[in-house]
Symmetry: D2
Subunit: 319 residues, 4 copies
């Protein structure tokens, strides 16, 4: 690839945490080049070699593909506009994640459908980690659907965006930890359940409780899985190993559990398991970690874009 | 109370995080006065108005009661020595928590047995929060013992003590989060199960997974409780409210969930609940927060000491 | 003191960080009792045993003294109102710090003027630490006024209040450090210079640069003092020791430098010194640390109130 | 460049924070390939695609250049060994920084001497930021050598390495801030003074005070410069702009001050200035920020290596 053959990419919503991460990653992408980046509040500023503009306007015509990091509810309109102008698009908002109009971009799972996709809905950060952890077990009929899967998930604050709400001030978040949206009220639950069912037939109950961590980035999910039969740790690890053997962005740990640190600034999910002693029915604890801004957002969007464009899948990414 | 009538107290192991917290709290206790404090490495230093000494020796005779914050495995010997010298004792280590020799000092639950106790075993930090959250439900036969109770607990690093292990360096803990001892391997599990059974008859399965938080202090536990029947949030809150109505150190939240911040530097457990939607069988999510160094250690030890000595129960404490 | 004889205190502006700290400290004050606390946004809530109200109104008449933690520019009006109603007042805002109408409440320095004061202006957080560090040297004519005193000060984020500005979000402050208002632009400089001159005659140049630390509370100031003559460390420490020998809230370190941790949650300034090697002209580095919310605000306000009311100076405070 | 033509590189001491950063950066270097990496404690583990070995041994012969991140005092011996085997070397320890045997690798300043160098001493982290900030002013005779330059520097904890000392535990560093080695006792001072004099003739006094920040990485230095004549901010910025106009790794801010965040994970120094009001003699405040592990260590080592090998200077680096 030389610079002349780089694919021209447009970025919508470049001033939020996800948008910034897109620019940071695209700046070192060997096969793509940012031709415009919009940002309402930061228009006029320059970031990673790109001048931020208020609106895409004429520049839209120069892009071959558009990545939107606009907020939920706002993104759909601009993505439709880009689609109407004949551009392919990856939407990082929640706007198309449950829509049949878009291909769901969980790269490792939906890869075959991405190459020809005109519109890809990038998965939510929480579902990305949970799905990559649960699908291999569900596809092997190992999850006891008569018992609940309990997911305790913890995220760094960039997951909440850059809106200056009092509860996200340093003085409130530091030296603190709390659940929010307990009781299955989080908007990621429908996405998680719909995808689990579509990709594996799993239709059991989930209990999902997100927590806010005093860290800037990263998601760690502790997933309690009721099993249909007893399996030991090596067997469980072997199942993941087999499913993900050729995946550059999935790390299956052996005899260890992942931590946030293993995945920060990387487009990687790390998965580790532990069997559970002293209980009557078979269970497995699965722990999955991702960087919410990379594999949970901007990185996976680029991974999807690479597949759509026929570029090497990890171009521009560190897995 | 005047200063002449203050109860003379001895502290063993005053240089660790728990020992320091004991001195900090005792310094403003209106009815107690520290007559000696031992500390191997910091002997010779002065903390909160007390000169640290290497060994209790002759000073032991001057104390009416001894509080030991020595490490597990070490504490028992020194506590026995104090007992042999006729002193009453509160042991903050794990050494006597499963022993019939000691009264278990979960103040709100075992208060009637404390007044006459010669030796009190102060509960572990994780069990303190879990037991105060689970016992009211268990005592009301609300927990479905055929399904597992899942506890995801997260603690600040002072819970691990002051030993300089590489995994507790700032460079490893900051911007990180991880589970440790998954799969019911944590040493607090037997204490938790034994106490639940003794105090409520509950004998169901528990899945306990502790996590390490990038904060200095505090424990938050997210407890997933399978219910024997459907109850709504107000009813659940009402049960806690009734059980703890006269308790100065228990805060039951209404329509809200606790965060670490609510309890830091306080001898308080805060408890909040959420019902769980979109699941077939009744469930409740209970969240409990304590300061691991206060209600989870030094504060509860003083609360127990106050009961043993007939002092006002919260003397020296901010609940 | 018994509860009937507690002085009735009113608090204005109880929902900010300083106001919360006032309530936390007054809750355990043996000689004072909060009779009302105003808070615009949090009216109706209960904090530390006090119901927050929108306006003082009739309650003003019941208070003997009023502490105002209202914002700069807003506080003056309400304090004047309380004064007009015959109440004594401590104003924690900047509104009266340069006004002849009020006594400047740097307790250790202006104590004799406080007992009879009707209105006390509580010092700014940065000046409190700087003045207690510089005044002993200035009063001994040890500062070379022909050379600049350089002060690099670093503060935790609660110093900026609870307004939800984007630059104080956790995602911006964590893993970050920066100067703000460099070049002597900070509003605390005139207060610092005026007080230094008034209390010691010092009229040399100051260079003051505040920085924002990724911590919730605490101020540490590194103060570079050009000396009129060579003095060694022990001599410098001796000067501080002599000036502050009877002060319960000043800690002079010997052969050590203070850290934020030494003073958190305490109404204390900790001061340490280092001589400077390899320079041609005599110099001293002085480091001073306070908790910005305690000795830098709420704690010192209560210390001042205690003096005004003839109560023990450290009642309700941990120094 | 294709993979066959990648320069074979050896890494000594790959398990510390700097060594890990070397592997992270070299993993995506388009023109270099790690042929061995030694690590005493972590031998046998695999990091960023490289198997860690106990000793270089025979592998030394396969490397064209060796980068040593071994500790001070240990590194010299192994670097000499590599040199004796005919390998070129960049030593990241302090062992050769004051030695005439090595070329000092402050890339922007000593670039012409690097191409032919057999042994390069990579600068200390604190001197890197201070020198890049001070040299342009010193070379323009703008620093008043009769007055002291005061440098208050603050570093994240990775600057102290991974040795498990109690003072670097999370429980000690979080919510804390402190100076260490005040009074010009820090070992970086001789390196700083010698380089300033050699590269600019500056021989004035420096007062250097390092502080420990509760962040994992990054250095920010607030540098107080006495000037020989009054210059305004635009003029000062213009001087830096002119000196660094062609430098890809130096960012001169205009009308703004740098923060740690501007430089994290980048091989960049960011420099901003402020003039000082209300003082009698001309002064400038200069603030410089680097990532201590990148431009302050591993990144600059790779920048130097690139120059030594004739590769594009920023290959493998994000500036």
């Amino acid at each position: 690839m030389n610079i002349n053959s780089r694919v021209p990419v447009g970025v919508l919503g470049a001033s939020g945490y996800v948008g910034q991460e897109l620019l940071r990653l695209l700046a070192r992408h060997p096969g793509a080049s940012v031709v415009f980046a919009t940002a309402e509040s930061a228009a006029g500023e320059r970031r990673d070699g790109v001048d931020l503009v208020r609106a895409a306007d004429a520049a839209l015509a120069r892009a071959e593909i558009v990545l939107s990091a606009l907020p939920h509810g706002v993104s759909a309109r601009y993505v439709q506009e880009a689609r109407a102008a004949g551009r392919r698009a990856v939407d990082l908002s929640a706007d198309f994640r449950l829509s049949p109009e878009a291909v769901y971009g969980l790269t490792e799972v939906t890869r075959p459908r991405l190459a020809a996709a005109e519109l890809v809905a990038n998965p939510g950060c929480y579902p990305t980690a949970a799905l990559l952890a649960l699908l291999p077990l569900a596809q092997h009929d190992l999850i006891d659907q008569s018992r609940e899967v309990v997911i305790d998930a913890a995220s760094g604050v960039t997951g909440a965006g850059r809106n200056p709400k009092p509860e996200f001030l340093f003085g409130e978040v530091a030296e603190n930890f709390r659940a929010y949206a307990a009781g299955n009220e989080h908007r990621h639950l429908p996405e998680l359940k719909a995808t689990l069912e579509r990709e594996s037939g799993f239709a059991g109950d989930l209990v999902f409780t997100p927590h806010l961590l005093p860290v800037t980035r990263g998601i760690l999910e502790t997933i309690h899985v009721p099993l249909t039969r007893v399996i030991d740790r090596a067997t469980a690890e072997g199942i993941y190993e087999t499913v993900y053997v050729d995946e550059p962005c999935v790390e299956v740990l052996h005899g260890a559990l992942p931590s946030l640190r293993d995945v920060l600034y990387r487009n990687r999910v790390a998965i580790g398991v532990a069997t559970v002693a002293h209980v009557r029915r078979p269970r497995l604890t699965v722990i999955a970690a991702i960087d919410n801004l990379v594999k949970g957002a901007a990185g996976q969007a680029i991974q999807n874009m690479n597949v759509m464009l026929g570029l090497p899948e990890t171009a521009g990414l560190v897995c």
